[in-house]
């Protein structure tokens, strides 16, 4: 299906176009602040930041393919207790937008007063690859060595909450910048931008159909033959065996918003009596105990809503393929539950709804 959509096209590259657009948004007062990736001055690293001063837009690196912090986690920190009382333009990758929508469903954020600019996403590079690179060295539209969750990502077109979609990943390279205008507000702001021209063109799906096909192939290959292919319960022990309990995966995950993780409380952690009992039974026991319990618990709670952003693998200091494990699990769990995370803020989360006639193929 070839849907036509309003499109803004400029002759300048993405970095320049976006920079000018964001300055214009701030100077005109259309938005109070912009929320995007920012270079941390003096330190050569990146962070998420609000910027209200047009002069500081230079420090922003919107859509640079790095993810020091998952955008949804940062946006939850911003809107978790109340929505902003003035418009904010937020730049989010499709998975960050989906994660944020999931958080909104669990009352951990608000979509109010946000003007959302997303992109067709070519992926982000892992922290280890990114270390020490200059932003200029990283390609916006086709970065090398992206995360495996990015290579196999089939949601490269953002969901309906995105007001604008910057075309980064595309089947055909175009000179200049193409931005899809998905909402009336987007059209108005594009008109007020005063640069480039507004016409109609293909939507995000049409522009990335071939890329999607390749991603789907990559995903099939991953599920059939990747690092966790064919591994079941018995392999989970060895997959998580090198875990040192740093909980970096939980901290990095945008969907893990519990104030205190249930798997960190005395309620669930093995008691001293149990440690002693198990040590006596087996002759030796790893301590602190409860490693697999934590991961199984997180898998249970998160796999129905996981957006496969890959932050967890990036955060792991001992190289456990957490994101890959969650990808394999979430694909089958979400299929069984008939659920697509983050596409519709009105759709209730599967774990809070009971349908008497479901999962018959799993239950006896």
């Amino acid at each position: 299906m070839n849907t036509k959509i309003r499109v803004l096209e400029t002759e300048t590259g993405v970095r320049e176009t976006l920079g000018k657009f964001l300055v214009r948004l701030l100077e005109s007062g259309e938005v109070h602040s912009v929320f995007a990736l920012r270079k941390t001055p003096q330190v050569g690293r990146f962070c998420r930041s609000l910027v209200s001063d047009p002069d500081l837009v230079d420090e922003l690196v919107p859509f640079l393919p790095v993810m020091p912090v998952q955008g949804a986690a940062a946006l939850t920190a911003l809107t978790g207790t109340e929505p902003p009382d003035a418009p904010v333009a937020v730049l989010l990758r499709p998975c960050e937008l989906r994660a944020f929508v999931e958080n909104v469903k669990q009352a951990q954020g608000s979509l109010e007063n946000l003007f959302i600019i997303s992109c067709t996403c070519p992926g982000v590079i892992p922290a280890s690859v990114q270390a020490g690179k200059d932003p200029g060295e990283i390609s916006m539209t086709g970065p090398d060595n992206v995360r495996s969750t990015c290579e196999t990502c089939t949601q490269l077109v953002p969901g309906p909450q995105a007001d604008m979609t910057v075309i980064l990943a595309a089947d055909r390279e175009t000179p200049g910048t193409v931005i899809l205008l998905n909402s009336d507000r987007a059209v108005t702001l594009a008109e007020n931008f005063g640069e480039g021209s507004i016409g109609t063109g293909e939507d995000g799906h049409a522009r990335t159909a071939e890329t999607l096909r390749l991603r789907k192939e990559a995903r099939e290959a991953f599920l059939a033959g990747g690092p966790v292919a064919g591994k079941g319960m018995d392999s989970l022990v060895s997959l998580f065996a090198s875990c040192i309990g740093c909980r970096g995966c939980r901290e990095a995950c945008p969907l893990c918003t519990c104030i205190l993780c249930d798997y960190e409380t005395s309620r669930t952690l093995p008691s001293p009596e149990l440690v002693r009992l198990e040590t006596d039974l087996r002759g030796a026991l790893r301590v602190p105990a409860g490693t697999l319990q934590f991961h199984l618990g997180r898998l249970t709670h998160i796999s129905p809503i996981c957006v496969n952003c890959g932050q967890c693998s990036d955060a792991c200091p001992v190289g456990i393929p957490v994101a890959e494990i969650f990808l394999a699990a979430s694909v089958s769990v979400q299929e069984a539950l008939g659920y697509e995370p983050g596409m519709n803020p009105e759709e209730p989360t599967p774990m809070s709804t009971f349908r008497p006639d479901e999962l018959g193929d799993i239950t006896d």
């Binding site: 941390t40 609000l50 009382d85 952690l269």
Partner: protein, 343 residues
Amino acid sequence: MRDVLLNLMLRALESGVADYVLTPSRGPGGTFPWILVNDVRLLDRAEPFPPVMYVQGAKALASFARSPFGGKVLAVMRPCEARAAVELSKLDQVTMQNVYFLTMDCPGAVPVKSYRNGDFTEPDPGEPESLRPLCRQCTHFTGAGDLFLALHGGPPVFRPVTGSGRELLETLGMETGEDRAEWVEWRDALLRHRKEARKRGMEDMRRSYTGLGGLARLYGGCISCRNCRTVCPICYCRLCFIDMKDRRSPASDHLHRSGERGGDRLPGGTLLFHMGRMAHMSLSCVSCGMCEDACPSDIPVGRMVSMVSEKTAAVFGYEAGRDTEEPLPLNTFEPDELHEYED
């Protein structure tokens, strides 16, 4: 060295002097998980004093020994881990009764990142470049716990530190003897060297990061991952003050700040977290360096906390990890102190 330690562990279990041994072990993927062992046949996995520190030994101990464990445990740990356990016992997170600490002339540890890259040499106190920054300036590298293995100035020999340590060696029919002169010489020389390194290191930190601007730069790359807190043995709180729900700033605060200053990073509260954490735990900091090793942004967290801790502990004449009976300054009220800080 490993064989000598393994032999003692074996004898301790066989003779009943210990019911359990707590030691690092060889784990999958180049890791060294702590294991609690009571079957001698499984001791062959033991790998005491591995080249890296993945989990602070005191944390591993605290995970099961908060209340009296109901069996004698011989804990084979680094001096900083034994000292952290001393602090944790004062904080009611470890019961020391029936736990004996066996330490060693600590070779130090290599940074986890270097280890995982394969880019390291075996830790050697004589080669400071091989060690983590905190190890290079560590002045508590030996003589900790109840007994320790002296490696230098002759064949390895066990030396008691406390009465329990002495008893343990005597029960096993081992010599308790005197410190060898060569060993004393080695220790004193290294101590001098380390003190000097520490002094230089602290001065560097002070110079580089003075004032709020300096601190903002120090923590500029912080992504609020909380790794430093999670791996710290002294940070035992399940829910950190900074993560309490009522600490969250509403959007209006963030927008207001951004409007005033031009921008506002999120998540925020970075400096508050680090300062607050130091206020809470620096007095008990044993400079083990876990925090710095765990930081994904290469921030010299440990060196800063260690420096602050030296100053704050000095106010009270306190030394972390020295004595289980020494009360925690923040928990004790002395009417006649700190007058010099009053107006």
